[in-house]
Symmetry: C2
Subunit: 429 residues, 2 copies
C-alpha cells in the first residue's frame, strides 16, 4: 500500500525548524521518500496537500488517558480537595470498561489536535492496549505501580498486571510498547523500588515515574530520606535505566545536574502544574543544562484538555514571562520538545518524531486556510503562537489515516460520547 | 425583526456563572426576553440552540486590530529588536487601506473565536469605523495620540484626526463609540497630556492608555518625574476621567491603591506581556483590591492571536502558577472579566456584557458536541479550561447574525486573505 502526499509544506527540524515544499511517499506504513518523488511513481492513493503544512505527529509524553471521565469535574479546588475529595474516591470504583471508554474519548481529542503517540500511566489491565488496537494511535504504556509498606499483595498484583498486559499485547494489532511505571516515591516503598530497578535491568525496560511534582513531595522526602526525590531515585539506581520523569517542578541545581548526568528525560506539564497550584518548572535552566525535555498534558482531570498545541504555546509563553526574556523558549524548541525529543524519551527516535525516509509515517496535515495563519508570514512560529489545535485536518499513524479532512476514520464519536455520558451519570452525579 | 433562540443552555453571570435552560427572544437587535417565551409568540425566524451553550459575546478591551499584518512576523525577539527593527519601520509606511484590511482580518478571527466588542487603539482615519460598518462588530475606538516635545504639529494632527473620526462615525452604520487614546506617558509630553485631560473633561470622553507595561517605562518615569507612571497620570488628573489602562504589569501596592481609588479599569494582556518578556501583572492583588479587571489580547504583532478563549485560560493558569494556589483566578472570574467587566470598562454595561432583557443581543452559540466538553461535567469551567475558541458556532451582534454554524455572513474571507497576502508581499518580504 502506497500513499503519495503531494504539494505540502513539510516541517523539517534540522538544522532548525523550517518548511520545505516536498512530496512524501508512504509505503507500507513507513516514509519511503521525502522530497522529489519520480513522476512515474505508481501510488495506490494520492493525497492533495496543497495549502497544507505537513508536520510530524505530536508526542504526548505524560498523560493518564482514562481520566477524561474527570474532565471539567473538579476545577478551582486545592490540590488536597481535588485529589482526596473528588478524584480518588471515584477512581477507586472505576472498572476496565470505564477505562476503555475514557481512553477512547482521550483518543478522539488527541487525534483531533494532532497527537499521534502518547505515553500513558494507567491503572487497568488490557483496556489501553485494546483502545490503541481500535483507534490506531501509537502508545507507550505503563501500568502505574504502587506499593505501601503494608501492601505487598497489592504491589505484587499491580506488577503482575503490568507483565500480563505486555504479554497480551504480543497478540498484536496495537502499536504499543511498554515501560515500568512506579507511580512516585511517596506511593512506592524503598524495597519495592529496588525490586523494580532489578526487574527493569533484567528485562531491559524503561521507567516512567512522577518526580518532584509538588513542594510537599520534596519536603517530605527530605524529611524522611534526608535527600531530594531526584537524589533518592538516583541513589536507588532507577536513573541508570532510561527514564521518563514527569513534572520535575521542584528541582534545584543539584537535581538538575543529576538529571543531566543520568540522561533522564524530563516531561514538563505546564498547564497541569499551574492548574493545581504547583508552579513553574525551571524549564530554561534544565534546557541550558542539556537535559532532553519533552511535553505532556497530564490527565484531563488536571488540565482539562489533551491538546498539545495549547500546551506548546503555554509552555513558551510562561517561561518568557518567568525569565523576563522574550527570546526564551522559542517556537523552534517547543516543536522539537513535542516531536523528536518526545520520541527520544520514549525510545522511539528511530521510528518517529521527524519526517525522514525510513521512519514510520506518523504525520499531520495542517489547514493553513485559517485567519490565525494569515497573512502567511512565519508559519513555523505560527504553529506555536497563533494555532489553537483546531487546524489539524488529517492525521496518519504508521501510514494509516486516522482522520481525513476532520473526519475520524477509526472511532464512532457519538458512541464514545454516549458511553462517557452514561458513566458521568453513574459516577459523578 | 424577531429571532427566537430555542432550547439552549444560557450562561448567566449572577450570583455566579451558571447555566439555565432558557429561550431567548431577540427583537430589533435587543433582548426582549430570556427564559420562558410564550408558545404563541410569532417570530420572524427561529434558531435551534439545543446542544448549544449560549453566552454573552466576549469583550476584548485592548487590541490594535490593524496589526494583523504583523502576525507571526517578529517572534522570539527582544522587545527592542521587535519594536524598533521589525515593527516600527514598516508601521510607518502603512496607509489607510492597509489598516482597513488588517481590521478585516482581525474581525474574522474575533468573530470566529467569539469576540463581539473590541476596544481598539489605532493610527488611522476612518478605516476602523468602515470595517465595523462592514463587519457588524461593535467597537470602541481610540485614535492613538502621541506628541513629543518637538512635534506640536504631529500631536495636533493626530488629535484632529481623532475628532474627524468621531464626526465621520455620526453618519451611522457602525456600532462604534470613542475614547481619547493618549498612547503612553513616554510618547506624550506633559503639556499634551494636560491638554487631553481638559478636552476629555469638556467633551465627557473616556481615556484608553498604555500604563506600566515594561519595567523600563517605570524606571524612566521615576527618573524623569520622580514618581511611577500611575502616580504621574493620577497627578495630571487623567484618572479623574473614566480610564481603561492597558497592561499595568509593573505596578506596586501604592499604584494599586491609586488605581482602585480612582476606579481605573485595568486591562490585563497576559499573553502579550509574557511574549515580549515583560512578565506577569499582579492580577490577584489587583482583584483583591477591588479593581475592575478586564482582558485584552493586545495586537497580533505580540500575541499572535486575537482569540479570547486562549487568553482567558492562559490568564487563569498563569496566576494559579504565580500564586502557587489552585483556587486563584477561577473560571467564574475569567468569564466575568471577558464579559461584564469589559462592558463596564468601556462604558457599555447598560448595553452588553450579559444576557438580560433590555440589553442588546450580542451573544454566542457554543457547540458542545466536541470532545473537550465530554463528558458534560461542568460546562462553565469547561469554557475556560478545555475550550480553545474553535467551538464558537454562531455569533450575533446587536441581533444581527455575523456567523451561523461556522459560516461568516458579513465578510468574504478569501478576499481578505488575498488582500493581506498582497500586503505581506509588499511590506514584509
Amino acid at each position: 500500500m502506497t500513499t503519495w502526499i503531494k504539494g505540502g509544506e513539510v516541517l523539517q527540524l534540522t538544522p532548525q525548524c523550517h518548511l520545505e515544499k516536498q512530496d512524501i511517499l508512504v509505503e507500507d506504513g513507513s516514509i519511503a521518500a521525502v522530497g522529489e518523488v519520480p513522476a512515474q511513481t505508481k501510488a495506490d492513493q494520492t493525497m492533495d496537500a496543497r495549502g497544507k503544512l505537513i508536520m510530524p505527529g505530536l508526542v504526548n509524553c505524560h498523560t493518564h488517558s482514562y481520566m477524561t471521565l474527570f474532565r471539567n469535574y473538579a476545577d478551582d479546588l486545592s490540590f488536597q480537595q481535588w485529589l482526596f475529595e473528588k478524584i480518588m474516591p471515584v477512581e477507586d470504583r472505576l472498572g476496565g470498561e470505564d477505562a476503555y471508554w475514557g481512553n477512547m474519548l482521550a483518543s478522539i481529542e488527541m487525534i483531533r489536535t494532532g497527537t499521534t503517540t502518547f505515553s500513558d500511566m494507567h491503572m487497568f489491565k488490557h483496556q489501553c492496549v485494546q483502545s490503541c488496537a481500535d483507534t490506531g494511535l501509537r502508545a507507550v504504556l505503563a501500568r502505574g505501580l504502587a506499593c505501601g509498606q503494608e501492601d505487598a499483595e497489592g504491589g505484587k498484583r499491580r506488577l503482575d498486571e503490568a507483565f500480563e498486559e505486555m504479554e497480551e499485547a504480543k497478540k498484536g494489532g496495537a502499536l504499543v510498547s511498554f515501560m515500568l511505571g512506579p507511580h512516585a516515591i511517596y506511593t512506592c516503598h524503598k524495597g519495592y523500588l529496588q525490586e523494580l530497578e532489578a526487574l527493569a535491568r533484567e528485562k531491559q525496560l524503561r521507567f516512567h515515574i512522577h518526580v518532584s511534582e509538588t513542594k510537599h513531595e520534596v519536603d517530605s522526602c527530605k524529611e524522611e530520606h534526608g535527600v531530594s526525590p531526584v537524589q533518592y531515585l538516583a541513589g536507588l539506581g532507577i536513573f541508570d535505566r532510561p527514564t521518563v520523569a514527569a513534572h520535575c517542578v521542584w528541582v534545584d541545581e543539584e537535581d538538575i545536574d543529576i538529571l543531566r548526568e543520568k540522561n533522564v528525560n524530563v516531561v514538563t506539564n505546564p498547564v497541569s502544574n499551574m492548574k493545581l497550584g504547583n508552579g513553574f518548572a525551571p524549564f530554561t535552566k534544565m534546557h541550558k543544562a542539556g537535559i532532553n525535555l519533552c511535553i505532556g498534558t497530564d490527565g484531563a482531570a488536571s488540565n482539562n484538555s489533551l491538546n498539545l498545541f495549547r500546551e506548546m504555546s503555554t509552555l513558551s509563553y510562561i517561561h518568557k514571562g518567568v525569565d523576563l526574556e522574550a527570546q526564551s523558549t522559542p517556537a523552534d524548541l517547543m516543536l522539537r520538545c513535542a516531536t523528536l525529543n518526545g520520541a527520544k524519551a520514549l525510545g522511539l527516535a528511530d521510528k518517529i518524531g521527524s519526517l525522514e525516509a525510513g521512519k514510520r509515517a506518523d504525520l499531520l496535515l495542517i489547514d493553513l486556510d485559517r485567519p490565525q495563519f494569515q497573512p502567511q508570514n512565519d508559519l513555523v512560529t505560527g504553529l506555536i503562537y497563533a494555532a489553537n489545535g483546531s487546524e489539524v485536518d488529517t492525521v496518519l499513524v504508521d501510514g494509516r489515516v486516522l482522520m481525513e479532512k476532520g473526519e475520524l476514520k477509526t472511532i464512532d464519536e457519538e458512541q464514545v460520547y454516549f458511553e462517557m455520558e452514561k458513566r458521568r451519570q453513574k459516577y459523578l452525579v
